[in-house]
Symmetry: none
Subunit: 243 residues, 2 copies
DNA sequence: GAATTCCGTGACAGGATCGTGACAGTCAGC
DNA sequence: GCTGACTGTCACGATCCTGTCACGGAATTC
């Protein structure tokens, strides 16, 4: 289960930036333009975390936060405040109103995501779950779920362990024997080519939507999780191009 | 397996703050006041991660980072930069010099610890990354990839093993028999001239972009990986002739 | 300069390797 | 006990790899 983040921000540019980065990090994102809209969305489907702009038209961020804290249903909802100033006085006031953390604009996407994770980990340990990512692949260890882009991918236990191992060591090539040891276990008595079959099933599941294949076959050696080569034609000398 | 973190920071207050939080998070912490002291400590007992202040008396943080990157022993050492400014230009310059991440003061302890964990997790597998280089050739053993300059070169298994052997012993000439033993294996029953064919295929793949040939043929003896002789010298260059 | 040895080049056929689909045994849940 | 999912194995075919050969040019020796 991925965590739902609700962004409350009136500037479209900032809203898109936030949404883009949070989605890339594996969160489910919703957005609202002002406090009123936010309240409606929270009532309908409460998010797991709120990112709240300090200055909002109508109901201000700080006021919205205070209201949420008063209602039992939303009192525990984690809130990250977003402000343009670095002034310490604001910082303190923000934390007093019950924000869990504070990000100042301009912010780096990485920092923001790190803070979101940190806050979620504190508030909902189960939700922040260790998240492995590679390209548009996301693997949530705690929730035991895998996503390719926005599509959830259903994997069998063996496929899941195999993908997990590959995602924990991206780019690295593993021989069939190594994979048997590490994914199947040292005492597994299985044919080497069983790995091929499982790789195939994993590929089929991951690429079911027509996405590019992220599993690279290294002939004579093994498999690796890797970015596919962009098919470029016509530049280098022909003849060696194939392969 | 506790990771060792070396803090390089001249302000005692910040140093203590960092040390306190990292120790609380379970890391082994050492500290240095300036670049010189840091270099000494790194030489004595290399840490697993470096937290580096941007501004330092004497050797600046950015300069220290650059120096570390140049030495093979410390080239893979993860570095987190610490700066007072949020300016994007600094940020980019920091990442360009080879910092793995970037934290701006003032920072939250939780964020810092989260970043340290993240960088360590990312860097661990890469630290073992065996990388052979010769001239503009790079061979990544773990990823099982070969690059000539920026172009990736696709090699068959035998070509790959042959190139690997030559890159592990550059400048050295191997006879066909030696190569058969070491690349094909002691029990290979193959014609000597098979080596020629594979050398040829290797050359074609490596020079497909029109680059100079790095495989030197020593008539009557064998092959070696070597820099090509600069063309057209009036006198005979004696040095490399013998051997 | 001629004979000889050595190496580069292209082609080719057999073989190794991998993808693919199918199948049966096992196990858990109903 | 039945059903369905999961998994290990196998056979087949396509592709890629690789060892070998013949030829000709280049270097070396006499």
């Amino acid at each position: 289960m991925t965590a739902r983040v609700l962004i409350v921000e009136d500037e479209p540019a900032v809203r898109r930036l936030l949404a883009y980065n949070l989605e890339a990090a594996g969160f489910e994102v919703a957005a609202a333009r002002d406090g009123e809209e936010a309240l409606l969305q929270i009532e309908e489907l409460p998010p797991d975390l709120l990112i709240l702009d300090w200055m909002l038209p109508g109901l201000s961020g700080i006021e919205l936060c205070r209201r949420l804290r008063r209602r039992p249903a939303t009192a525990g909802l984690p809130v990250i405040m977003l402000t343009a100033r670095v002034e310490e006085s604001d910082r303190l006031r923000g934390l007093e109103t019950g924000a869990d953390d504070y990000v100042t604009k301009p912010f780096s996407p990485a920092e923001l995501v790190a803070r979101v994770r940190a806050v979620l980990r504190r508030a909902r340990p189960a939700m922040a779950g260790e998240l492995l990512t590679f390209a548009d692949l996301r693997l949530d260890l705690l929730a035991h779920r895998v996503y390719r882009g926005h599509r959830e991918v259903a994997l069998s236990p063996t496929e899941f362990r195999l993908l997990r191992h590959l995602m924990e060591n991206p780019h690295r090539v593993f021989g069939r024997g190594q994979l048997l040891d590490r994914v199947w276990g040292l005492d597994a008595e299985v044919e080497l080519r069983t790995v091929d079959a499982t790789i195939r099933r994993l590929r089929r599941a991951l690429n079911a939507g027509g996405e590019p294949d992220l599993v690279r076959t290294v002939r004579g050696t093994g498999y690796a999780l890797d970015l596919p080569e962009p098919e470029a034609a016509g530049f280098s000398a022909p003849g060696s191009a194939g392969r």
